[in-house]
Symmetry: C2
Amino acid sequence: MDQPLLGALEAGGTKMVCATGYADGTILESSEIPTLDPGATLEQVVAWFSSHDIQALGIGAFGPTAVDPASPRFGSILETPKTAWRNVDLLGALAQPLGVPCGYDTDVNAACLGEAIFGCAQGMSDVVYLTIGTGIGAGVMVNHQLVHGMMHPEAGHILLTRDPADPIGTESGCPYHASCAEGLIAGPAIKRRWGGKRASELADDPKAMALLAGYLAQALVTYILCYSPKKIIIGGGVADHTPLVALARPRVRELLNGYLVTPEIENIDTYIVNNSLDGRQGILGCLELARRALES
Amino acid sequence: MDQPLLGALEAGGTKMVCATGYADGTILESSEIPTLDPGATLEQVVAWFSSHDIQALGIGAFGPTAVDPASPRFGSILETPKTAWRNVDLLGALAQPLGVPCGYDTDVNAACLGEAIFGCAQGMSDVVYLTIGTGIGAGVMVNHQLVHGMMHPEAGHILLTRDPADPIGTESGCPYHASCAEGLIAGPAIKRRWGGKRASELADDPKAMALLAGYLAQALVTYILCYSPKKIIIGGGVADHTPLVALARPRVRELLNGYLVTPEIENIDTYIVNNSLDGRQGILGCLELARRALES
């Protein structure tokens, strides 16, 4: 019997990645559409998926967004700084014209799911996926289920302690918080400190890397203590193009200071890792969301 | 038909609270046994429950402890500072002589469960229970399930940013971390700063309360961002006998700085609350653990 054709959409703030594939993780085709005006962008997305005979769609959306199916705003983008997208019913705008079952979650929860189903966290019950790029987001799985709660985790905005050697000044890269992880580690903070440079251009600068690794370690320690995950997976451009993950590991141990004695912490090199799916963790998670929507 | 008689044990570092009751939350009898030498203490606990005809036992244990039934150390106390209890097979020492089905979790997860089944978080899917006493511990429910993961949350040890006005000095009340929540807010930190005083004796000291409330707010913001809970419930002596919870609420809002827009944050007085069950949240959670053990 033919496998049902599934659609996967990573709806990001910069681009929409559309793909088709199968439940086993095969990607057949994919296409990128820039995220511009909501109406025109979503029309293009619908047109792309309409031209393929998909039987379900999985959507991983940028946040904040309503991921609780019981919420009257389920599937809508919430109070995002991208004002044109505020209150856009993303799920409705796709599900109605396409007429197929749709799964919906945050982009980072989708990536977490991708790693837990197809990647380096296969079969694990408790997983944190962190992306460090223009922002920081965390997708979290607890007892095999993605975390939503009141809204969804916004663990990129946890408050960190400033390093006295940090040249960033009184403001940070986050408009809301002077000292949150996103405001100190993500792309805008890096540009602000180092004359508009990107993380990849600083990969060989030991001082810059040490500063960022120290902040990342602080954040990781909080995630370890709060979620007690079995693995932490780090993706996103800032982590992908620098040695930050490797540099953060010994700093995590220093900060924990022997408090947690577990095999995972003993083997920290396999506990805190870069993502495993060559950047496809998000779209593969969306494929899994589609599979679940079809089965449910 | 008679309801089955259930046993509930809050196994704390200071005392063992033993109780009998029914699945509906009725407590019939209870007794306290000081936590001293493991052998003698557990013998007394077994004797107490043996003298009642319980059909199942629910245990909420002090940590760190192995709560994963798949672990070879399930039910044992792990690397605790209470060295006599290290590696004690608490669950085995009770389940074997009593010969009844036993449920086992951390004391704080049991209290979280108590609030979610019988208390102010009834029916809620995502709940954080925090206790602030001689230490700080968090019990967490996500998607109606208690969080275990690699071990269990140790969210009392998350790192906070020191208040420059804090008179505590370079060390804190935690032997592991110079600036974790437990080391800055719990009993030992309070005694260290304020000449051996207890929190209750400082309830009317606005400077002391403001310092502690600021730290508590930092921790709460992290829990909100990480767990996205639908309610946060705070118990333990330090919170019970001071206005800390009320004082922390406006500080939480300040730190979030408008970032999260949800009905829960709007109604922060019902979102971050003192415990609801007159100190019985832990033992009632143990009763529920017993009920589940009997049914499983």
